[in-house]
């Protein structure tokens, strides 16, 4: 049996999960469906319940109420070791007294596979994660990224029904993080295992997932494909999480918000009052030099301008004393110096606004 032949995948259904710790609800009626072979990322700040959800699915924690079904079978009361889940932890989960190969073989050994079969499977899995060279190393001889690859190989070796990834990249360096993130997605597509991926990093979630669920205080705020989530966040909380970081006062009329001397379409679910606060992405604002006499709605003073590699960033203070962050092409950064007068404006339809009452 080869890793590429298990492309079927198993559906997972979490229904109305509740879990209370000492009066605080970590899960407050979470319902979530994973299609066979799908990778769903749960995104949210720490304490939002995403890890609790994953641990309930793994059987490492009991929900107070609600049901968990895997492949149509109710596994709510089934102990962890009978659930057939592959799990990758945040860090340090490799058994320190075993080599990479022995770690990968461990689950197969518990399933009573014979030595030759274990060997072959472990070699295949280590090859899949690109670590064939390091099969005989111990955890303390490997980098953090390599350790997480072994952990992934170990989780996949048992051909689990569901793969659970509990912030597997959060302990790694930025560069390794991006690399391994892409690799996890490649491998997941290759083996086709239904996967739940928990993270607090929005970029990570958007990059790897088929669908992203944004969680807040034990509830799912929005569950959507990455592109949909990015273009039409349904709540201010989600909007903030997908990069709408400028909070500006605005007035609303006819479903559009008047902000920075321009008009921007309001997203579905925005509050309606005439005076609102809207959220706008740095990419959704334009900036240009202004004449001395200019004092319109979009006029502002540059506070700082910084070069960030692929792009640049200008922070300006408006006449109404609001700080606005604007993303500019990196070639433009040198045109702005602190104290310069500029004009800001919303960038046509690329600007989005969600009113946050």
């Amino acid at each position: 049996m080869s890793a590429t032949a298990t492309a079927q995948g198993t559906p997972v259904q979490l229904t109305d999960l509740r879990r209370v710790y000492g009066g605080v609800a970590a899960l407050d009626g979470l319902t979530l469906h994973l299609e066979p072979g799908e990778l769903v990322a749960l995104l949210g700040p720490s304490g939002c319940g995403k890890t609790t959800a994953l641990r309930c699915l793994a059987g490492l924690e009991d929900p107070d109420s609600g049901t968990i079904e895997v492949g149509g079978r109710d596994v709510t009361g089934v102990p962890t070791n009978k659930r057939d889940m592959g799990m990758v932890f945040q860090a340090y989960s490799l058994f320190p007294h075993m080599t990479a190969r022995q770690n990968v073989e461990f689950g197969l050994e518990l399933r009573g596979r014979d030595r030759a079969a274990r060997r072959a499977r472990a070699a295949e899995m280590l090859d899949l994660v690109g670590l064939s060279q390091h099969a005989d190393k111990y955890a303390h001889q490997m980098s953090g990224g390599q350790q997480q690859r072994v952990a992934l190989a170990r989780a996949l070796a048992i051909e689990p029904q569901v793969l659970l990834l509990d912030e597997p990249l959060s302990a790694l360096d930025a560069k390794v993080r991006v690399q391994l993130r892409d690799e996890i997605r490649r491998i997941q597509l290759e083996v086709g295992t239904t996967t739940l991926f928990v993270t607090h990093d929005q970029e990570e979630a958007l990059a790897v997932a088929d669908r992203v669920g944004v969680m807040s205080v034990g509830r799912l705020e929005q569950l959507a494909a990455p592109a949909d989530l990015y273009t039409s966040p349904r709540t201010p909380f989600v909007a903030d999480f997908v990069g709408l970081t400028n909070r500006l006062r605005a007035t609303v009329s006819e479903g559009r918000a008047q902000v920075l001397g321009g008009s921007v379409p309001l997203l579905e679910g925005s509050a309606g009052g005439p005076e609102v606060v809207v959220l706008v992405r740095p990419e959704g604002v334009t900036v240009g030099p202004a004449g001395d006499a200019e004092s319109g709605a979009g006029s502002a003073t540059v506070v700082s301008a910084s070069f960030l590699g692929g792009h640049g960033r200008v922070v300006a203070r408006t006449g109404s004393d609001e700080l606005v962050t604007v993303q500019v092409p990196n070639t433009d950064v040198t045109r702005y110096r602190p104290g310069d007068r500029v004009v800001l404006g919303p960038r046509g339809d690329a600007a989005l606004a969600v009113s946050a009452d």
Binding site: A58, G59, L60, P79, T80, N81, K82, R83, D84, M85, G86, M87, F89, Q90, Y92, S93, F95, P96, H97, F106, G107, L110, R111, A139, H140, A151, R154, A155, I158, L164
Partner: protein
């Protein structure tokens, strides 16, 4: 540097005095006669009894103290239970000596509290003299400081077990038994054996407790050394004492070398 001067005078010179003195006779001439003295029946018996006492209390203390350490590790960090037990053990591990001997005499001696209580329910512990014998009473008394010492030495290792290892074992299909047999036990083994060796040297070097409890004879090697030191019985005894001291140093040094090796192994695993 003052450090080197200090340790030379108070550590290196005494060590050399013992090592060299073990090979000198009464007239400061080289001799192997003191080493012959080590083979005399009473000295051999002292060494053997010391080794047995240390080994038994090390194993017993390690097993019981290890169990205690695990029990304490399951309590929440910072809970009163944990603070209470670790503080108590911190004191008791240092509680060797005179007061400890008194405590056991007061409890298990001929008219001790427990002897009387046990007598009331019909269990006779005899005259209470068993308490003063090296292979019964002393073992019990030594356990009283060995168990707490084990907790203090071993608890960090038990707390170094990461919950992820248990959880990973479970998700891979293992039971609690699998976890203990295949994961926790092999990981803890070096620390456990290392701690046991430390307990061994602790018991082997102990003098005060035995001195305060045993008033007749010198069943243990530290008591014998103390004996050659204070008595003016025989000329040349002094250098026999140095030979016995050297013998002790050799035993302890071998054990500590083993300990250092195991400790390195254990901390290598525990670091990440």
């Amino acid at each position: 540097m003052p450090f080197f001067a200090y340790t030379t005078v108070f550590l290196l010179i005494p060590t050399l005095v013992v090592v060299i003195g073990a090979f000198l006779d009464g007239d400061n001439r080289f001799t192997l006669g003191n080493l012959d003295g080590l083979t005399s029946p009473s000295v051999v018996r002292g060494l053997v009894q010391s080794l047995v006492l240390s080994a038994v209390t090390a194993v017993g203390g390690a097993v019981l103290g290890g169990l205690l350490a695990y029990a304490v590790s399951t309590a929440r960090d910072g809970s009163v239970t944990k603070r209470f037990v670790t503080s108590l053990c911190g004191v008791l591990a240092q509680f060797g000596g005179v007061a400890l001997a008194f405590a056991f005499i007061a409890s298990f001696g001929g008219t001790g509290l427990l002897t009387l209580l046990l007598g009331k329910v019909g269990i006779s512990t005899g005259t209470g003299f068993w308490l003063y014998e090296w292979d019964r009473g002393l073992m019990l008394v030594y356990l009283y400081f060995q168990i707490p010492l084990m907790l203090i030495v071993f608890l960090p290792a038990v707390e170094g077990l990461r919950p992820q290892w248990r959880e990973a074992t479970e998700t891979l299909g293992g039971t609690t038994w699998t976890y203990w047999r295949r994961v926790a036990a092999p990981i803890l083994l070096p620390s456990f054996v290392g701690a046991m060796l430390l307990l061994f040297t602790n018991a082997f070097s102990a003098y005060a407790t035995a001195k305060a409890l045993v008033s007749q004879g010198s069943p243990l090697i530290p008591l014998q050394i103390g004996g050659t030191f204070t008595s003016e019985v025989l000329l040349g005894q002094e250098n026999l004492g140095k030979a016995m001291a050297l013998e002790m140093v050799v035993v302890v040094a071998v054990v500590m070398a083993l300990y250092a090796w195991l400790d390195k192994r254990a901390s290598r695993w525990m670091q990440r």
